[in-house]
């Protein structure tokens, strides 16, 4: 069983894989036993591997699985896929549902949390994660419904895009939704979105507060005491 704490490392050992693990481990501690959760594709799908002992969540795949599970080699079926279109399964006790029902669960306030990546987040909790005009136009899929409907919206992402801040005073890309983000978890720290702006509540101890602030274009209030995210 995975421990719920990431080892403390030095900055030099923060490769891509380690960064993703640190973020996934920390987000996993936000989820409570029994939560009904939708995880975006990519990094968020790593989170179940790091759930603390005794915590089991009910995963949704928005294309139509409540209590979604993985799929072993040789068990693939053309009749069962997850929201990424990859082979998947429905665990015992779960349900297959249609898309209108699925998004009713999402939009209707029945979902405890959603975790997804972002291109930009701003200090009002605005989120941009579906389009870069002229460059990348994949479509929003279910993201707009998820961030409007889930009770708790957690952004899990690398703190910067190759050094360029992604946490901004105001998003410059087209929005996914307005004032929807509750918590931002990056490899540098944990940031809460409050009515008074962004509050750094935990830090990865390999970084200094000054380094986190320098990598953040929005203004950060630093909580006292400041916890460790590891």
């Amino acid at each position: 069983m995975a421990t719920d704490r990431a080892p403390v490392l030095d900055k030099a050992s923060l490769d891509k894989g380690t960064i993703r693990e640190i973020i996934a481990r920390r987000v996993a501690r936000e989820l409570k036993d029994g939560d009904f959760v939708n995880l975006g594709i990519g990094l968020p799908t790593m989170i179940p591997d790091y759930l603390p002992d005794g915590v089991r969540v009910v995963l949704e795949a928005e294309n139509g699985i409540v209590l979604a599970g993985g799929c072993g080699a040789g068990e693939e079926s053309p009749y069962v896929v997850n929201a990424g279109g990859q082979p998947a399964s429905c665990q015992v006790g779960g349900a297959f549902i249609d898309s209108a029902t699925s998004f009713g669960l999402i939009r209707g306030g029945h979902m405890d949390a959603t975790v997804l990546g972002a291109l930009q987040v701003d200090q009002a909790g605005n989120l941009a994660n579906w389009i870069i005009p002229g460059k990348m136009v994949p479509g929003m899929g279910g993201a707009m419904d998820l961030v409007v409907g889930a009770k708790h919206v957690i952004v899990a992402m690398e703190h910067t895009q190759k050094g360029a801040p992604k946490i901004l005073p105001a998003c410059t890309l087209p929005l996914t939704a307005v004032a929807c983000v509750d918590l931002i978890v990056t490899e540098m720290g944990v940031i809460e979105v409050t009515p008074h702006g962004l509050v750094l509540t935990e830090i990865n101890p390999v970084f200094t507060v000054d380094e986190v602030c320098a990598a953040t274009a929005a203004e950060l209030t630093v909580a006292e005491p400041l916890g460790s995210m590891l």
Binding site: A61, E62, N63, G64, I65, S77, P78, Y79, V80, V81, N82, G84, G85, A88, C90, F96, I97, D98, S99, A100, S102, F103, G104, I106, R107, N126, I131, M136, V137, P138, G139, M140, G141, G142, A143, M144, D145, V148, G149, P174, L175, T176, A177, V178
Partner: protein, 231 residues
């Protein structure tokens, strides 16, 4: 009428795939169920491509991945307009969009499902919080209900809906397997003509009434087909 499962599989709704796609003409609006190809009516899509229809308006939640299911209609340049929530895994869409060949209206996935449901349920539209403050809201009215603001989204209907089910009985009652329900369920309600592709056409009574998801009254034509690699 018999309720036994060993009755012969005959049905006035059962037609060949070629007969079914005769109902789809160039320029029509077509809905196709499925999610990333899972639950697409694969044989009907194949026949539609073979028939050579063009300038279709397609309503589908996504355009699948290259070479699989509904993706073929894009790759063979059969579409003039597309309503979808996600097109990122089929590069042909971006290419044709950029070339000005294909008009794409991106719609949040939950909103798309409800717009189709509204179209099939006789409702005048959908009031949703999804999309407020984003490009999706551009040009659309908002409505205030009990102090909350909603976006008004219009219903969607089609000339023809092409859906897929694992077991379909001779009256058109559909049982879906796995995650293939997705958009098939709402699309079966929202078109003038509904063509349902079955992995297996089964006798009357083979699907218990409690297990019927799409009632046969919605289905006009049944074809035998199925997903490649299915059983």
């Amino acid at each position: 009428m018999t309720t036994t499962t060993d009755a012969p599989v005959t049905s006035h709704k059962l037609v060949s795939v070629a007969e079914a796609v005769a109902h789809v003409e160039s320029g029509m609006t077509v809905m196709i169920g499925g999610f990333m190809g899972c639950g697409n009516p694969h044989q009907v899509v194949e026949a539609l491509c073979a028939k050579g229809v063009t300038d279709l308006t397609l309503i589908a939640t996504d355009t699948s991945r290259p070479g699989y299911g509904v993706a073929k209609l894009v790759e063979q340049h059969r579409l003039r307009k597309l309503y979808a929530s996600h097109v990122g895994l089929n590069p042909a869409v971006a290419t044709q969009m950029n070339a000005g060949e294909l008009e794409v209206e991106l719609c949040p996935q939950g909103t798309l499902a409800e717009r189709i449901r509204a179209g099939g349920a006789g409702l005048g539209g959908v009031l949703t919080p999804t999309g407020l403050g984003t490009p999706v809201a551009d040009g659309k009215p908002t409505v205030e209900i009990d102090g909350r603001t909603f976006l008004l989204e219009k219903p969607l209907r089609a000339d023809v809906a092409l859906i897929s089910g694992y077991k379909i009985d001779v009256l058109g009652n559909v049982w879906y397997r796995g995650t293939t329900r997705n958009f098939n369920v709402v699309m079966a309600t929202a078109a003038d003509v509904v063509i349902a592709e079955a992995d297996h056409v089964v006798p009357l009574g083979a699907i218990p009434p409690e297990d019927v998801v799409t009632p046969g009254v919605l289905v006009d034509y049944i074809v035998e087909g199925g997903v490649p690699g299915g059983d």
